[in-house]
Symmetry: C3
């Protein structure tokens, strides 16, 4: 073979080699592309699991900061775009402005809120139990339902010993990789459980005229009224939403639809 | 070189190329196969982590549905193959038929079970605490141990305020990708904790002759008797099973082995 | 072409083939190396998630073993290198020797510690709530903060019914793949909550002269004093440490810095 022919052979060989090894449809390239897709999908699943634990920490930190009246630490966890805050029958406070107003003007003053510190002689534990945390598939928002039971008391006053029994519905949002509180709602079952006369002399929390809300309460049916505090998630087996009926026997007035702004307290005529 | 020779060279080259690139034992193919195995193993580990959180939601949803007497929502979470249900000293109810019977005929009627709704004037919170959830290595079954403390009461009756203190042992099974309840057992420490005379006048729950079980209770040693409610999992450090002794001092009769079906209640002669 | 030339061509071809297919800088090899790195990083993230759940089980198992006075099971979970154990105002017990001494000589005797079994007629539930578990990035250590509320009582003595309210700060270490307890600290808010006169007659736990500690208590400010039981982790949103002020109003003596070993109990002059 001539020199030219040998060169042609080698060049063709090298070319075939190059084409063969780097062909987009080689089994290796296809296998690698498939692995990259599988790995990306698995990374997303792991991120969601990490998010559940991170949201759990935000939620429980809320509780610990409330125990200690560290309201600045609580407010630092609000998203700037927080939707609303609602507590008992005080009504809905909208946006960061409303939520800050609720935490500054409405709650915690007897406990030491003005000093960001639990006052001497007070106890106000916020237990958060049955933590159900769901993260949206796109990983940007989350929600949590928690039981809340408080244990509280005041030095020198044994009669003040009692518990609040409630359910929290929290919203969370992930902003720049950090999970924050996007919505706050605490709905009471009862406010003075275990006090000597709690079951004969239950209590309601009516809107405070000094700190009016931005909107009426969404749901406030304290004992002895009963109603399902709404679920943010479906039955995990059936996948269907859980209906949330309010038992139609009324004890209070001012807390039912259409009654906001009117008289609030015990109905004169109690229907069993 | 002749034409025939060139063709032979090129064909041999192409053949070598083909054999070389797609050789099963090429470093790339081996590396890809190893990656596929590692990824498959990691996918399984992630699935197990997801399963723990899914089982947590099933368990806590049980608690929330019980709080609201949404017994239909509870029953919807039973596996069709649920093994058994057991509560206090009422005995063991076997299979879906037995479990349905227990939830329909035995429990919750004063709370509103007939209407699937917590009755006016009642409170019955089911707190589930110290959630230990273990998923089997094959990912098909799981178990959970939970403390249970209830806070309950009745409108108009301050004396009725009290707590049940128990331990749940749940079994779970994954059917068609959905986690369901496969076994239910709630064992009481005490039924009337914090009522005025709970420590001098403890209570036992004997089998109900109107709703007889399918088998005797497995373990019912309410206060003041003590015994370790059995653990489903070993000590996490030693890996060894935790022994579950029952303290041999007896207060009750009817709850000890061999006594089922006979007299049930306080022993006449109390041994300290 | 001569035979020699053909052989040269084939050899060169095979060599090019070999060099081409196994070139370290081929796209496939680079892609495989990148996948291996991504997978290794993801494996670490999954390990950390598994570790959180494993630490959760160690922590809650501590609680369940304490409920049943299974102190041998608790001690089996101590790392041989456990740093220290501290409980209320009893002081700090250092190392495995100190921790064993604390669990053998200091606590639990009335409950049945000598027999490793909860005594007849006793109830001592340890509820662990608001579980915040953080695993270090290197996966070797972890920490956990938990609320603790006990429910306890004694057969025949209704007055003894009450709760301890505290906060646990645990350290954990992973040794040979097994998570163990590396540090134990339980700080009291109050010791006799819900007893009839708890708010007028609070209690303190002073060092026990029969079981002296190895070092003074780090923090013991029981009700009515208040102070933030220190946080091991920063605010999850700001990333900044949470300050832990102690309210400067004093009720007790013996528990403040510099007072260890001196008189311990209620101050004669109470400043409001």
């Amino acid at each position: 073979m001539s020199k030219i022919n040998l060169q042609v052979v080698l060049a063709t060989c090298a070319l075939s080699l190059a084409l063969g090894t780097h062909a987009k449809d080689s089994p290796e390239s296809k296998a690698i592309a498939a692995l990259e897709q599988r790995l990306a999908a698995l990374e997303q699943r792991v991120t969601l699991q990490e998010d559940i634990e991170k949201v759990r920490i935000v939620a429980f930190s809320y509780g610990y900061y409330m125990d200690n009246v560290l309201y600045d630490q609580v407010k630092a966890m609000f998203s700037p775009n927080i939707e609303s805050c609602e507590l008992a029958g005080y009504g809905v406070f909208i946006g960061l402005k409303g939520c800050s107003r609720m935490w500054t003007d409405l709650i915690g003053k007897p406990l030491g809120a003005d000093r960001n510190q639990l006052a001497f002689g007070r106890l106000a534990k916020h237990y958060m139990i049955k933590d159900v945390i769901t993260v949206a598939a796109d990983g940007k928002t989350a929600q949590g339902r928690f039981d809340y039971i408080s244990m509280g008391g005041t030095f020198g006053n044994n009669e003040a010993t009692g518990s609040q029994i409630d359910v929290y519905n929290f919203g969370f949002v992930k902003e720049e990789g950090v999970w924050k509180i996007a919505k706050f709602w605490m709905a009471f079952d009862t406010i003075n459980y275990n006090q000597r006369d709690w079951a004969t002399n239950p209590k309601i929390r009516c809107p405070n005229p000094a700190v009016p809300p931005d909107a009426p309460p969404t749901f406030h049916h304290p004992f002895p009224e009963t109603g399902v505090i709404p679920f943010h998630y479906p039955n995990p087996v059936t996948g269907k939403p859980v209906q949330a009926p309010v038992t139609d026997t009324r004890y209070w007035i001012g807390n039912w639809p259409g009654e906001f702004g009117k008289e609030c307290g015990k109905r004169a005529e109690k229907l069993p």
